[in-house]
């Protein structure tokens, strides 16, 4: 352990602002990328479901007409 207390760990020997800013921005950017990846998948699923529902409606309409 390089630090004696939590306080010292947060302060980082006076460089706390820079170190935590760097780590914060880095992991925020990675989080954005991960969430974006999951979001794309959810979007694909939603589109698929919508498409399916549309097809079902079309099929029903066809049945009603005939």
């Amino acid at each position: 352990m390089a630090f004696e207390s939590w306080q010292a760990f947060i302060e980082m020997g006076g460089y706390g602002f820079y170190v935590w800013l760097a780590f914060g921005i880095s992991f925020a950017a990675i989080a954005v990328l991960v969430i974006n990846g999951f979001g794309a998948r959810v979007k694909l699923q939603r589109e698929f479901i919508k498409q399916q529902q549309r097809q079902q409606r079309l099929a029903q309409r066809k049945k009603e007409v005939s």
């Binding site: 020997g13 950017a29 990846g37 959810v42 479901i49 529902q53």
Partner: protein, 256 residues
């Protein structure tokens, strides 16, 4: 060899293969990253010159290394896509580019933040930072060109050509330190020499490099899987796959 490789060029096989690997790779990446970060932030000793500010190295160096190798990977998949006309390589290109862009961005920002306490300025026009900025522009160019085409296939081809042209810039980036020789310190890690770094700092750095590499791999796998689904949306196996997922999440059905 081609007979053995051929089934792996099928989107469905690749999709499932990546799906099988993804949890393992992502899990190991999380573990390694957590270990590397905690080790680097809390347990590695402070640098005798730079104090605790050097701890930024544990994100800066891995992302900077990966930003360049991911660009090479981008150009390689573009080359494979061109030579063997593999759709899969085109999709890999579109999966790698955003990951590489993010890593380049991270390495630039952490470099700038590190520069403030060390050099007294947020931005220094030195060789390394500048070439990293050029790399960022190159990534942006590739992505912008890819998205400018309404047809994904020509988009990937055009972006691939640009990536191959841009990869000529990688050696300039690599050797820019020797060429311009300004205030940035030399490369921290070299393959042939033993780096002048204490083991107590080097080992956590290597752990985080490995962690970030696995993270990059899992992000690419995730995006590649999405891309395969998007491109093959009309195929029966994709419909089956998505239908299965939809039944697993009934809440989503009500939403839409």
């Amino acid at each position: 060899m081609w007979r053995w490789l051929h089934p792996y060029a099928k989107p469905e096989t690749v999709y499932h293969l990546l799906g099988r690997w993804l949890p393992w790779v992502a899990g190991t990446a999380t573990l390694m990253l957590a270990a590397g970060m905690v080790w680097g932030l809390a347990f590695a000793p402070a640098d005798y010159q730079q104090g605790d500010s050097y701890r930024i190295i544990f994100v800066h160096v891995p992302t900077a290394m990966l930003s360049m190798s991911l660009y090479v990977g981008l150009a390689l998949s573009a080359l494979i896509g061109r030579v063997w006309q593999l759709k899969m390589a085109d999709w890999a290109l579109s999966a790698i580019a955003p990951v590489g862009l993010t890593f380049t961005f991270i390495s630039l920002v952490t470099g700038a933040i590190w520069g403030k306490p060390m050099w007294g300025t947020w931005w220094e026009w030195d060789a390394r930072l500048t070439s990293q900025l050029i790399l960022l522009f190159l990534y942006i160019g590739v992505l912008a060109l890819y998205h400018a085409f309404s047809d994904n296939r020509s988009g990937a081809k055009a972006a691939g050509i640009l990536a191959m042209v841009g990869v000529i810039n990688i050696p300039i980036i690599r050797y820019s330190v020797e060429w311009w020789n300004t205030l940035h310190q030399g490369s921290t890690l070299t393959v042939f020499e033993r780096p002048p770094m204490a083991n107590s700092m080097l080992v956590p750095l290597l752990v985080s490099i490995l962690g970030f590499s696995l993270l990059a791999a899992s992000l690419i796998f995730q995006r590649m899987r999405n891309e395969i689904l998007r491109q093959e949306l009309r195929r029966p196996w994709v419909k089956q796959e998505l239908a299965e997922l939809a039944t697993q999440q009934p809440a989503m059905k009500e939403q839409s």
